[in-house]
Amino acid sequence: MSHSPDYLLSVQGLSKSFAGVRALDQVQFQLRRGEVHALMGENGAGKSTFMRILVGLETADAGEVLFEGRPLKMDRQSLRKEISMIHQEMLVVPELTVAQNIFLGKEKKRSLFGFLPGFTNDRTMSAEAEVLLQRLGLELHPDTPMKYLSVAQMQMVEIAKAISNDAKVLIMDEPTSALSDREVAALFTVIEDLRQKGVAIIYISHKMEEIYQLCDTITVLRDGRYIGTRPAAELDKNQLIQMMVGREINDLFPASSARPGEVLLSVRGLSRSGKFINITFEVHRGEVLGIAGLMGAGRTEIARALVGLDKPTAGEVYFKGVLTPIDSPREAIRRGIGYVSEDRKGFGFIPALSVVHNLTLSSLPRHRRGLFISTPSETSAAEAMIRELRIKVAGPDQKVLELSGGNQQKVVLGKVLLTDPELIILDEPTRGIDIGAKQEIYKLITRLTEAGMAVILISSELPELLGLCDRVLVVSKGRQTALLSKEEITQETIMKHAMEFSKPADLLLNEE
């Protein structure tokens, strides 16, 4: 295939290696003006590397990139104005205002008293920022400090910043992962608007629904290679998954033979001021209890209170029938309650430690012989877990930071499993990981419950809750709105109860 003039961006034969490992191998890619183009692939397929090369954060080893028919230099690290990336992790200065962030590095200048140069012209920047924000439909004062903004608003500001740079290509990497449904809708409106104005958008997401709702074209990468480009309308979900994983995945959710047994955990009237109130439920052995709700409904906060990361202000927790106050994560682990946080980087693993040392971190005293850690005991436990969870590592001493998202998540899971928990709380366990790893985690959940363990699954993905849970607790604005039985679990009932209390919650307890 050769370069064609109709394309805004045309990539041919792009290759990149890291330390002898091929990250990208002869990748091609064509982007039209005003199109939303999905870039799909499992974790480690090379999407991020590709995008980092496009924006100039990384250099390419070989290949050609034409932008509006002119070649872009790919051998030098320099940020490009025409191509902007909205990062997964926000790159904002929290103490500066919205306007100051938008104009960071290209401040409007003025002279003081007409002769002292080098002062910033805040008024002009504010005014221009306001115009930009209005264009994006954002009701935000440009002088608001960035730190008061929600994640969604910060993302919009990042988009405003990119537009102020006259970016013609916008790259969005998992832009909705931290947004509520309403914020997602607002983002999609903005994307539609940008598309009308001729901006091309490269959209990276693991969420199939979004891809099909938004995108015109889909390009798939696998193991650093170009697999193909199709119009979204001509590619059904199963074909797309097949392109991504190179094999067919049918039964995403495995059949389970687990039977709910005795009550393991009983929570009565659990509350934490300002976060959630009066949560009451039970979890049985061999059961998967889902917790559903919108972003900010208090799901993670409930989990954190159950595992001792936060202190509840009221309520009782009975574990195995005994009143069990849990005031620290250590206490939770000792009692047999494991927690896998939604925030893998923040609460999950220690980046500088090896895979083995991360795996055994919570169960280390078990490998102590006398004063010292027994390396054989520790290594064999970790290696058994590496095998059981099929964690793909270059070696047991590899640092967790170097692993793909899915494998990092498996390490965190493995760490919790090595403490022999009886109840395991999984908070968004499949966020940001590829479909292959997702399926493995689903299988693992099923295996655990079949072995008599109880699982609490917090998820924003309704298919996950539908496919795995025996019962679902729905929360909205910190209140429990439903406890659905297996027969009652449908997308509609969950959403209906998740949207109860349209007014902001008037929590009965005061903020401490």
């Binding site: 490992v21 220690i350 500088a352 971190l361 001493d397």
Partner: protein, 327 residues
């Protein structure tokens, strides 16, 4: 079992990981050896048993402090009170070390206890108040200096027993006693860091404190340990120093914390915590000692030595940063 595991491993990736490690790990040692070779070519007096013994003896106090502060820095903290702890523990030990008063174990025991208590106080305030270690130990640095002056009434405490003076000035099997203490301390510290649960927790907390807590580690307890160990090692250094100069000096140890921190940093300890080794710190301390000894032998005045030392601290960290980036 080993084979099934390696079946998952990607061979080429495995090799690159090993290669990377060795460059970072042995770069410092290589620089150290090169420096020694260079000095022995420049001056014949450098590579003699007598001179090398002098270097290690002189390094011993800084190295003891550096071992302690390495634990602290690994958790992401800092201990600025080291120099003051040296003075307090030295003065306390000297008070009980006059000839024909108490048996030798008393000055040693009381001195070490003073260090442990001081270090534990640092740890207690840091974990309870959640004030930054930099601020807390800046405060206790001043408090400690004051305490040393109060205890000694502002005067040096001399007339110490021969037994006490052996600690810093004696020889065992022809080896200066401070060197023996130094080697034992190095062995014990390395074991703590590499082989014990505490050592692993120290790395974990420095790497990601939140994740460490969520993994069930009692973060405050580990930090208490770390500052207490730092205090204990400062006490060992304080006793060795007092014994060597045969006087309890309330003004001793001013600025020692900075040399100790420099040794740890030159040795590759990350200032943000989570990575570093005892061996690195040891080499860092030796490097500082060899450079100052070498400059002495080359008749460079001590004013210039300070300039050189400062440049080396910055250079070491810059090189370390470049090295990391290349990886």
């Amino acid at each position: 079992m080993k084979n099934t595991v390696t079946a998952y491993f990607n061979r080429s990736a495995e090799r690159t990981v090993v290669q990377r490690r060795s460059i970072g790990k042995y770069g410092l040692l290589l620089a150290f050896i090169l420096l020694c070779v260079l000095l022995s070519l420049l001056t014949p007096r450098f590579l003699t048993v007598a001179n090398l013994t002098i270097i290690v003896t002189q390094v011993s106090i800084n190295a003891l402090l550096a071992f302690g502060v390495t634990f602290v820095i690994l958790t992401g903290g800092i201990d600025l009170s080291l120099g003051s702890m040296v003075a307090v523990t030295g003065v306390v030990a000297a008070t009980f070390a006059h000839p024909d008063t108490y048996p030798l174990v008393v000055p040693i025991g009381v001195g070490l206890l003073a260090g442990v208590l001081f270090g534990a106080l640092n740890g207690f305030v840091i974990t309870r108040s959640r004030v930054a270690p930099f601020i807390v130990t800046l405060g206790t640095m001043t408090i400690g200096r004051g305490l040393a002056l109060i205890i000694s009434k502002g005067r040096p405490i001399s007339n110490l027993s021969d037994g006490f003076n052996f600690i810093g000035g004696g020889h065992l099997f022809g080896i200066p006693f401070p060197i023996i203490i130094l080697l034992i301390a190095f062995g014990v510290c390395s074991l703590i860091l590499n082989k014990t649960v505490l050592g692993r927790y120290i790395y974990a907390i420095g790497g990601n404190e939140q994740a460490a807590r969520a993994s069930g580690i009692q973060v405050s307890r580990v930090k208490m340990w770390v500052y207490t160990i730092s205090g204990l090692l400062a006490a060992v250094a304080g006793i060795v120093l007092t014994s060597r100069i045969t006087t309890g000096q309330p003004n001793a140890g001013v600025g020692f914390e900075l040399s100790a921190i420099a040794a740890a940093i030159i040795g590759g300890t990350s200032t943000s915590g989570g990575s570093g080794t005892m061996a690195g710190t040891f080499i860092g301390a030796l490097l500082i000692g060899v450079i100052s000894n070498g400059l002495d032998l080359l008749n460079v005045t001590s004013y210039y030595q300070q300039v050189v030392m400062g440049a080396i601290i910055i250079g070491a960290v810059v090189l370390d940063g470049l090295n990391r980036k290349r990886l």
